[in-house]
Amino acid sequence: MTKLILTVDDSASMRMLLKTSLTSQGFRIESANDGQHGLERMHEVKPDLLITDINMPKMDGFELIEAVRKVPEFKGVPILVLSTEFSDEKKTRARNAGATGWITKPFEATKLGAAIRRVCP
């Protein structure tokens, strides 16, 4: 079954890049442009996986992850952070918030796909 992934990033080019590279690998992609929007979209599309950026206006990635994890329905949804940030402090924060994994931008499409399959086979 095709996995549905919600990508949250404030950069349109990044969203499109994700969409293009993941669609070609057999994923279905929905996207949102900030944390708040992402949270709304979670409820709408109920994805199999959430990929989120960290630095976003309105609601950042940490807040989004926390908010998503508070929803019982989304407890089992893997969440990958896709960010240019790489400090361990940030990663710890993300984990504590409930992230499943962390991928540092820039990503390589096939490896991103592999990483996704790792958490969401």
Partner: protein, 750 residues
Amino acid sequence: MSDEFDDIQAIFFEECTEGLTTAEEGLSAMQAGDVSAETIAGVFRAVHSIKGGAGAFGHSDLTAFAHKFENVLDEVRANKIVPTPGVIRVMLSSFDVLSDHVEAAKGNAPRPNDGAALSALEQVLANKGVPEGDAPAAAAPAAAAPAPAPAPAEEEEDEFGFRPVGVSLEDLDSPADEPAGWVVRFKPSRAALANAGEPLLTVRELEGLGARVESVDLSGLPSLRDIDPEDSYVTWVIAAPAELPESDLSDCFDFVAPDSVIEIKRAAEDVLPEGATEAEMDGDEIPFVPVTATVDDFMDLGADPAPAPAPVAVEAPAAAPAPAPAAAAAPPAGGGGMPPAGGGGGGTGGGGPAKPANEAAQTIRVDLIKLDLLLNLVGELVIRNSILADRLSPADRQRVELPELARLTRQIQDNVMSLRAQPIRQAFSRVPRMLRDLSVETGKQINLETTGETTEVDKGVIEKIGDPLTHMIRNAADHGLESAEERIAAGKDPAGTIKLSAEQKGARIFVRVADNGRGINRERVRAKAVEKGIISADAQLTNEEIDQLICAPGFSTAEKISNISGRGVGMDVVRSNVEALGGRVEIHSVPGEGTTFTMILPLTLAILDGMIVRLAGQRFVLPLTHVLETIQPEPGQVKRTSPDNEVIDMRGEYLPVKRATEIFGLNDDRNIEDSLVVIVESESSGKVGLVVDTIDDRREVVIKSLDQNLHPIRGLGGATILGDGSIALILDIEALVSSPSRYTPKGLAA
């Protein structure tokens, strides 16, 4: 795919432009004293996004520079570097270099030399905020170790930027000479499960590498009634082939929460837990090592910041090299509170459904072409509306509720127009940078004062005033302002000021560039114009006409060709660009006090309220904004004052009369008494009478530019399509009645 990639990349570059604008605004605000967290975060986020995208599109130079810049911003954001004026200066010049990098990435410019900026940033990082030469005043206490930047940057290189987290290998002993097989012990933490990490996937992945599960320890399982389905009780012990690189194994744990128990060791290592016997180590049965330390202990992380510190790694067992057998292990240091017993979700699970945050304004990106199409269609709708109104009797108009339709149509039109309206700030945004560069190039001190940047103008106008504005600013900096010495000698502030302003007046927008420099040297302008053959030596010109010569084609007052102006194009480009937009340029200069250039532009390029008139039988549109009144001249009311000049007597006031038919070279043998004279008011020439055959109609028209498929034509502001599909040309009143047509035929030597 590559087309698609290019498309996405084009969007990325747009985002860069937006990001740069945001960053510059933020930095300017910081320079002006606003160092609020919000402002700093805005700049950080902008630079951060540029870096992120640049990496994705493979612009490594841009990425590297943005990265360094971001590091400094991050420290400022974290209050580790105080944004002193010196630091802000470094950031502003870094911003300029960043802009150059973006241009280079676009392929518009060579790679900038960023060495100086990089080392300035480095210095700020190293000194925690004190760049060279800056007062050590507010230096932040040297709290942290040197900038955290470089090291992680290198790590970023690994593979594809997949940074293994949660596995720390540094503290493992070096492998024995003959490597033994790997023993991997894995006990996912409760947090790992809470984060939707599925341990079986990890185990399967290890198996994919040739590992096999030696044993599964279920001893941690509580009695059924005590089982928390969200908790983790199982420990896997997995044997992996000796020849596998350790990194392959650790990679499998990338996504496993750091408080899980993960041990990757050579089977023969002496760090094996107590209780493992020799036989067990050699044998095919790996001793089962119960690890029970981390059942609930890491759940309350929210309440306890302790477990945070950096390379979050194998926590419990690694810290205590000899995990005690059986269930004796104590909670590791830092593992604080216990979660509520049997709590369905413990610390992370409590909340109800999250509030859908709807209040935020959403934006979408729309292709401008679609917007233009919409605007065109709405324009046609407006026109159809007025045609309908013309054809229906007043009673029928009411019966079909035409006024209501017209009102709605008008609302749609206003809304569509507002979609295209944007703050003129976008056009102004590149000015500060330009002036910083100009200041360096000219050695002049230049202050910039900007007002009215929130004035909203049609996007088409904003896009098209960029070049004229650049020329005007350069002209002001290069020719307008004096050198500091000259200014001091003249008793002025050594720093010159350029005021950039925008304001809306009715349907027009006024964009001014005013300098407080030396003013136009009319003697020199005149001499130059004679020398260049633009005017004849004996031409009689008013001061205003001399000033206007600056905009004449081929004119440049720069005595030496400077870097800045004098590139062969100049103010004549400003004039022609602005006129192509249906606007014009005014110059006001006072010797010794300065010069003001004003671009007067239409607020929108799209729709115009006009009169359909006929000239020599052909239909034209006369923009209503200029029309004062229309009269049918009485015999003798229009008098010829010279072979070329006519005036009309308007209740004792004599106004010049112009015949558009003559200016356009149309055949017109109509008697003036059979014509109408439309009195128009132009901004440059005051009231003028314009002779037309008849007036057909009054209506709104959609302006179609001629330069879209042809080029601008002097005297015409564009064309429109009438209800019957035919084309009417739109008159440009300013160009028709104003001075250029006067000095063009006469003063020109050429």
